[in-house]
C-alpha cells in the first residue's frame, strides 16, 4: 500500500467534515405535529426558519399514530403532541429527552355549529331537541374528545345525549361532521374554528368554561437519538418565545 491513496482519502474525509460543519449551521428538523395545532405550527415554523436559518419539516397527524411510528424508529426530531400522556410515555421509555419536555399550548373546547342561530352563549342548546347528531371525538383517542365527555358529565347531560352522539376518530373529523352539516353541532377545538386574524368565527359557538373539564395541555418533546439535537431543542424552546406565543394565542390556544 502506498501513502498516496491514504492521503487522498484523508483529504476527502476532511472535505466531507468541512461540508458537514457548514451544513450543521442550517439543520433540518423533522417535526411531528398533532392535527389540531397544524395551522399554528406552520406559522411558527416559518417564523423560526426566518430567525434561525434552520429548516423545519412538518408532518401532521394523530398523536397516537406518531407514538407507534416513533416506537418503530421513525426519523422525527420533535413531537408536538395533542396531550401530555404520549410525550410523558416516550420520556419514561427513554425515547425522548426529559429536559426538553414542556407544555407549549393549552387547548380550549368549544361547542360549535355551522348554523349561526343554533348554539347559544350558555350551551343550553344541548338540553334541547333542536338537533339530531352531536359530533364528539373519540375520548380514548383524542384529548378534546375526553374533555367533551368530561364537560357533558359536569353538565349532567352525559346520559341524555349519549344516543345522539356520533364519534369521530379525531378532532379534525369531529369538525368535518359538523361542517358538512351531517351533525348539527359538535365539540371541537377553538383553534379549529378561530380564524388566525382574530375575526369572529363562522356559525355559532359556546366556549365551554374551563371549569367543566380538566385542562387540555399539549406537550412538546425532543425525540432521543435525533441527529440535530441542538436545532430541535432550539425549536422546542422557541415555542415559548413571545413571537410564538402571539401566534399560539391568535390561533385560539393558551399556554
Amino acid at each position: 500500500m502506498t501513502l498516496e491513496p491514504i492521503r487522498g482519502l484523508r483529504a476527502l474525509a476532511l472535505a466531507a467534515l468541512a461540508l458537514l460543519a457548514v451544513r450543521a449551521r442550517a439543520d433540518e428538523v423533522q417535526v411531528a405535529v398533532a392535527a389540531n395545532f397544524s395551522a399554528a405550527a406552520q406559522r411558527i415554523a416559518t417564523q423560526f426558519e426566518k430567525d434561525t436559518g434552520h429548516v423545519v419539516k412538518l408532518s401532521v397527524g394523530a398523536t397516537g399514530k406518531f407514538y407507534a411510528q416513533i416506537e418503530a424508529g421513525a426519523p422525527f426530531d420533535v413531537l408536538l403532541a395533542a396531550d401530555q400522556a404520549t410525550p410523558g410515555k416516550l420520556v419514561a421509555e427513554g425515547r425522548a429527552l426529559p429536559a426538553t419536555l414542556h407544555t407549549y399550548a393549552t387547548g380550549k373546547l368549544v361547542l360549535w355549529s355551522a348554523d349561526p342561530a343554533l348554539v347559544d352563549g350558555q350551551g343550553e342548546v344541548l338540553k334541547s331537541g333542536r338537533w339530531k347528531h352531536l359530533s364528539v371525538a373519540d375520548a380514548r383517542l383524542a384529548p378534546y374528545g375526553q374533555a367533551a365527555r368530561q364537560a357533558l358529565a359536569s353538565l349532567g347531560l352525559a346520559q341524555a345525549v349519549q344516543a345522539r352522539i356520533v364519534t369521530a376518530e379525531n378532532i379534525g373529523q369531529a369538525l368535518q361532521f359538523v361542517q358538512s352539516g351531517n351533525a348539527e353541532l359538535g365539540f371541537v377545538a377553538l383553534g379549529q374554528v378561530q380564524p388566525p386574524d382574530g375575526s369572529k368565527p363562522a356559525g355559532s359557538m359556546w366556549v365551554v368554561p374551563a371549569t367543566l373539564y380538566s385542562p387540555i395541555r399539549q406537550d412538546a418533546v425532543v425525540i432521543a437519538g435525533t441527529q440535530v439535537a441542538k436545532a430541535a431543542t432550539q425549536f422546542v424552546d422557541y415555542l415559548a418565545s413571545a413571537k410564538a406565543r402571539e401566534v399560539i394565542k391568535a390561533c385560539g390556544y393558551g399556554w
Binding site: G64, T167, A168, G181, N182, A183
Partner: protein, 234 residues
Amino acid sequence: MNWGDDTQAVLLTLKLAFVVTLLLLACGTPLAWWLARTSSRWKAPLSALVALPLVLPPTVLGFYLLMLMGPHGIVGRATQALGIGLLPFSFAGLVVASMLYSLPFVVQPIQTAFEAIGARPLEAAATLRAGPWERFAHVALPLARRGVITAAVLGFAHTVGEFGVVLMIGGNIPGATRVISTQLYNHVEAIEYPAAHRLAAILLAFSFAVLLGVYRLRPQGTLVAAPADGAPRA
C-alpha cells in the same frame, strides 16, 4: 374495550358484507352482462366509472360521500325529500357506500366470464328458439358461474376489509356503523395492542381462508381475469 364490543363489530361486519354482496350481485350481474355484450359508445365511459373505486383512495371517496349524502349534498337532499332522512351515521349509509366501493370487484369478474363465453353458445341456443332471457339464465349464467362465485367472494371479502369509507361516514356507532376495521384501527390508535392483535388475527385468518377458497376453485386463473367454464381459450 372488551370481547363484547369486538363480537358486535364482527357480527355487524358480516351482516354488512352479506347485504352488500347480495345487492351487488343483483345489480352487478345485469350491468356486467350489458358491458360484456354491448358495442355502445357508452361502454368505455361506463367501464371507467365502474373501475374508479379501484383508483380513488377510500378516505377521499368517503369524504365526498359525506358531502354528497349530507344535508347540503344532492343525494342528501333527495333522500330527505323522499322521507328516508340522511344516510351518514346509519347502516343503510354504509351499505350504499360499500356497494360503490366494492362495485368493480363484483362487476369485473362476471363481465370477464361473460366475455369468455363468446357468441357461439348463445347463437346455438338462439337457433334452438331460446329467448333472450332463457339464453341469459340457462346458458350464459351457468357457463359464467365461476366468475359469479369469484365476484361474490371478492365483493364479500372486500367489504369486510373496507376501512376508509366507513371511517369517513360511519360515526363509529356500536351496532350500526362500528365494523371490524374501524374497531381494529381504534385499538391501534389507543395503543391497545393486544386487542388489536386479536382482531387483526381474526381478520387475517378470515381473508386468507377466503382467498384460499377462491384459488382452490380456480387453480390456474388469476382473480379478476376469470375465463368461463367450457369456453374456448384464445
